[in-house]
Symmetry: C2
C-alpha cells in the first residue's frame, strides 16, 4: 500500500514515517493489514533522513492544488494530513494561516475525494478547537469554540472531514492533539512552544523562559504517544468511528510549575535552574484560551494511548536525544 504524509518533513511527519517504516504494515483500503510499499513525504523542500527505498520525498505545497493532486495520484491508500501553520503564526499572519490551514486542507480533501475508493485520511486537529467559557473539564461533547484563527481553521477541517466521510468520499479520522512536547530542534512559532523549550533548552545547557504563570494548566502528550495514536486512529475500522470522526485524545494535564518540578526530579537542579519565569502577554493571550482539563472517555474506550506523567515524557525525550 501507498501512504502520503503532508508536512512529511516536519517533526511529527518524520517521526510518523519512521514509525511506519519500523512497523512495515498498515490497514489498507480493503481493510486488510498490508505491506507498506511507499511512503511519500510531501513537503516544501522535503528532506528524508531515512535510507530506505520505500521513502520518497516529494516537493510541493498543500496550497497548490495541482501539487497535491499529483502527489496523491490515483493509488494512494492513506493520507496523513499534518501540514499546517502553527498557532502563533496563524494568529500573526491571518492570510497565511487561512491559505495553508484552510486552503491546504481543502486541497488535500479534494484530491482524496477524486479517488473512487474513499481513502483513509488522518487529520490532526488541536486543543485550540476549544476556548472561551468552558466547563471545568472538556468532555467528548463539549462544543468546539475556538478563540484563535488556528483553532478556527482546524475546526473547519474537522467539519469537512466529517462531511466528506459521511458522504463516502473519504474515510476520515481526526485527532485533537494536546500540546506535543518535548519537540526537539529549534523553537517554532506555536504559542505552546515553551512547553518543549523549558525542557529542551536546559538540557542543551541553554537558558529558557517560561512565559506563563506556574499555575497555568497545559494539556500535553509526548511525540511517541501521539504517533502511536495517529497510527492507531488509521487502523481502527470505520465502524468504530461512526458519524463522529473527531476525537479528543487523552492528554496529560500538568501545570507549568509541575513541568518544571518534574524536570528537576528527572534532570536535577542544575538543569531546572536554567528556566526562568517571565510572563509574555502575547503567549498567555493565546494559551489562556485553551482548556487544561479533559475527560476523554471515548479515546479511552476506543483504546488510544496516554502518557502516565510528565516525568515519563521527559524520559522519552532523553531517549530520543540519546541521553540515556
Amino acid at each position: 500500500m501507498r501512504v502520503l504524509i503532508t508536512g512529511g518533513s516536519g517533526f511529527l511527519g518524520t517521526k510518523l514515517a519512521g514509525a511506519l517504516l519500523s512497523r512495515g504494515r498498515l490497514v489498507d483500503r480493503h481493510g486488510a493489514l498490508a505491506e507498506i510499499q511507499e511512503i511519500v513525504l510531501f513537503d516544501t523542500s522535503p528532506e528524508s533522513p531515512f535510507d530506505d527505498a520505500r521513502v520518497r520525498p516529494v516537493n510541493g505545497s498543500v496550497c497548490a492544488a495541482e501539487d497535491v493532486v499529483a502527489a496523491i495520484g490515483d493509488d494512494t491508500d492513506s493520507v496523513f494530513h499534518l501540514a499546517a501553520v502553527v498557532s502563533g503564526e496563524a494568529e500573526a499572519d491571518f492570510e497565511k494561516g487561512m491559505e495553508v490551514n484552510l486552503g491546504g486542507t481543502l486541497n488535500v480533501l479534494n484530491a482524496c475525494r477524486r479517488l473512487d475508493y474513499a481513502p483513509r485520511v488522518i487529520f490532526t486537529s488541536s486543543v485550540a478547537a476549544f476556548g472561551g467559557e468552558l466547563p471545568a473539564a472538556v468532555t467528548d461533547t463539549t462544543p468546539a469554540t475556538p478563540q484563535s484563527s488556528y483553532g478556527t481553521q482546524k475546526v473547519i477541517g474537522e467539519l469537512l472531514v466529517n462531511d466528506l466521510s459521511r458522504k463516502g468520499f473519504i474515510d476520515g479520522r481526526v485527532l485533537r492533539l494536546p500540546t506535543i512536547c518535548v519537540r526537539p530542534g529549534a523553537p517554532n512559532r506555536a504559542a505552546s512552544g515553551f512547553a518543549s523549550g523549558i525542557v529542551r533548552e536546559p538540557l542543551n545547557g541553554e537558558p529558557a523562559v517560561c512565559p506563563v504563570a506556574p499555575e497555568r494548566l497545559m494539556w500535553v502528550m509526548s511525540p511517541r504517544t501521539a504517533i502511536a495514536n495517529l497510527i492507531y486512529a488509521h487502523d481502527l475500522p470505520a465502524a468504530a468511528w461512526g458519524y463522529q470522526r473527531v476525537l479528543n485524545l487523552e492528554g496529560l494535564t500538568v501545570s507549568a510549575g509541575q513541568m518544571l518540578d518534574a524536570l528537576r526530579r528527572v534532570c536535577g537542579d542544575a538543569v531546572a535552574g536554567r528556566v526562568s519565569w517571565q510572563r509574555d502577554p502575547a503567549v498567555e493571550a493565546v494559551v489562556a484560551t485553551w482548556p487544561g482539563r479533559f475527560e476523554s472517555e471515548r479515546a479511552r474506550v476506543l483504546g488510544f494511548q496516554r502518557d502516565p506523567d510528565f516525568e515519563t515524557i521527559i524520559e522519552h525525550h532523553l531517549q530520543e536525544i540519546g541521553r540515556v
Copy 2:
C-alpha cells in the same frame, strides 16, 4: 449609509430590501442610526421589484471574488450575506454547495476584510447546523453537529464570522434560522420545502404532498419574523454579541400534523383536504437529522422576535398574498 444584500433577488433578500426601504434607517459603521442611501441587490440576474432610487441591482456571483469586491467597493457599511445553495441541492450537488456556500462566503468575508472599518456582516445559518444524537431540546450551548453538507458549510461560515469578528476585521452576526415558511412562489430544492408547500399549494387550489410523518417536528419561523430579526441582529451593538456571534433564534416547534390542523382551522376543510401524506425517504433522511425542539434563551434575552403559533404564520402568508 450603504447596504449590500447577497442573494438580493432571492425571497428573503427581496423581503429584507423592502423592509429596509420602509424603515429607511439602520445603525451605520459609527454606531449611529443613519439614513440608508443605497441598497445593492447583489445576485446572478438580479431583479428589483422596487421603484425606488435607493435600490441598485448588481449582477454578479458570490463565487467570483472580483464580482464581490467590486460590488462591496470601499464604502459599504453593512452586508447581509444571504446567498446560498439550499439544503437539498447542496446534498445532491456537493461541488456546487461547496463552491457557493463555502467559497462564496469566503469571498464575501474576504471582500469585507479589506475594509478598514470592520463592516457589519449579517450571515444566515440554519437549523441544519444540528444533527445526529441531540438532547431533547437544543440549547444555546448545544454543539453544532451538522449531518448534511449544507449544514456543514453553514457552520464553517459561522466559525469564519466568529474569527473575523474576534480579529476586528468585521463586526459579524450570525442567525441560525428555523425553516422559513410560508415561502411564496415555486418550490425550491430545500428539503424543508414542504413546510411551505403544504400551505401554499392548497391555497392556490393545487394538491400538495407532505413527505414526512405527521409527528415529525419542524422548527419554523415566518418570513416576517425572520426579516425583523435580521434587521434587529444588525442594529444590536457589538457588545451584546460578545465573542459568540452565532445565535439560535426562537423558532416555533410544530409537527407536520399540527401544521395541517392549523391550515384546516384557518382556511377550512376544502383547502386542507388538498394535502396528502406520502413519505419521501430522501426528504426524511435530511429533515430527520434536524432537531425540532429548541430552548433559545439567549435570543429571548437579547430581544429577538418569535411567532406565537402556526395559525399566525398562515395568517401572515394570507396577508402577503393579498387574500385577507
